[in-house]
């Protein structure tokens, strides 16, 4: 672990984003547009209040997954990763640098989307806004960590983009948003139990329904955080200094 390398990497990734205005705009605007569209589609029904908060967690998850998987793939294909691996930087320093930069971005993204949902679109949640924001940021970080990991298995941008439906959509189908998890058959329920997005959505649901911050939320958040650490660890294991 080398803090200097981690911070330098985070600064560098943020500098790259700063030069890429369109990506930055898309990252901030797309979740807002989607959440606004959702509020509009379900205007006059209670549906927005029920699924609004969980989707505030899902959108950043999806967007961050895509952005990071392509960003790290580019690092692999451009030769910059190979150069870095000949330098005194640890694999974990490199990944944590990315995590820090995209995590900071996730805070901004989730704040903007949550702020819009709560204060403009009138999303009604029983729990505190800071908890909603915490869950949304953690979901975004989860998407980022999974994106970092799967980018190791993609040889091209075409493949990396295909991992989105492969990794993200099954989690979306089974996370309890479409069908409550307790109503699923045993097989599907067991699968949904091991998918991290299920816990992210459970946490969001608790925030929606309960005014007090219960132990359940912390347990769910702990599971999501554990999945982030696991994905980052696996990602570090896929970075090999020596290749064929």
């Amino acid at each position: 672990m080398n803090m200097r390398c981690t911070l330098a990497t985070a600064r560098r990734v943020l500098a790259q984003l700063r030069h890429d205005h369109r990506t930055l705009a898309l990252l901030l605007v797309v979740p807002c547009v989607l959440i606004a569209l959702l509020a509009w589609v379900f205007d006059g029904t209670p549906v927005f209040d029920v699924i609004g908060a969980p989707l505030l967690g899902v959108f950043p998850f999806v967007v961050m997954f895509l952005v990071t998987s392509v960003a790290t793939l580019r690092e692999r294909t451009s030769g910059t990763l190979e150069r870095l691996l000949t330098m005194p930087i640890g694999k974990l320093d490199f990944l944590l640098g990315y995590a820090l930069a995209f995590g900071a971005l996730a805070v901004v993204q989730a704040s903007v989307a949550s702020g819009l949902a709560l204060f403009v679109l009138g999303l009604d949640v029983a729990g505190p806004a800071w908890l909603l924001l915490t869950v949304a940021v953690l979901d975004a970080v989860l998407g980022m960590a999974l994106g970092l990991f799967v980018s190791a298995f993609a040889a091209s941008e075409f493949q990396a983009v295909q991992f989105m439906p492969a990794i993200v959509l099954p989690q979306f189908l089974l996370c309890g948003l479409l069908v409550p998890r307790e109503k699923m058959n045993d097989v599907l329920h067991a699968i949904s139990d091991v998918l991290p997005l299920s816990y992210a959505v459970d946490a969001m649901r608790s925030v929606t329904l309960s005014a007090s911050v219960q132990g359940d939320v912390w347990r769910d958040l702990l599971v999501v955080a554990g999945a982030v650490v696991l994905a980052l660890g696996l990602g570090a294991a896929t970075l090999r200094r020596r290749s064929a």
Binding site: R4, R12, A15, L84, T86, P88, R241, S243
Partner: protein, 250 residues
Amino acid sequence: MMNNSIAAIAVDGLRVVRGSRTVLDGLSFEVRRGSVTGLLGPSGSGKTTVMRAIVGVQKIAGGGVEVLGHPAGSSPLRSRVGYVTQAPSVYADLTVAENLRYFAAVLGAPSGDVGRVVGEVGLEEYVDSLIASLSGGQRARVSLAAALLGTPELLVLDEPTVGLDPVLRRDLWRLFHELAGAGTTLLISSHVMDEAVRCDRLLLLRDGRLLADDEPTALLAQTGTADVEAAFLALVEGESRNTTTVEVTS
């Protein structure tokens, strides 16, 4: 043992296999400290693979590579060896200064280093330009500048002068010799044989095997040729004659 303490690079029986193909087959050579050594050979001869093995990013099937007295790629070497890949490996969406500042931070190089290396490759007026807006040759020089950060003891440069205009090529070779004069060891690959005369020593590589390991003048004298291209051809022809003889006698 004595030899090892003098050599910047000691390659011993290096074998690299990629898929079913043997890319390098028992390669052995040494590179003297403070020298400019040219690694020459046609495209596909294994030059890049040799260089990757020396910087420690190549999986090897046999043999060993020692760099500055340590196993190639081991952690004490990571701030002492500079490597320039054939394709410029810098971030296209950052400026020259941002790229160099990042690599300098990773290397823990002194703060004045970015300005120094920009001057050494002659890119002062492009410091704040995005890499994406630079020409191929300029990008290659940024990539070279990044390898000069922290003043490494060994520079491994994979075709650093390809596509550069003659004036720039001359300036870079002058820089390489200045660095060697200050004690840096340089291993420079090229498929342009006329760059060979600028090296102190030559390694001629073909199909993953060394054809020659000699000084340029000695190589020309031995083959009775006027330039390295002709010497290369003479060596290849001499080798195939030898092979034929072996086949006939066996």
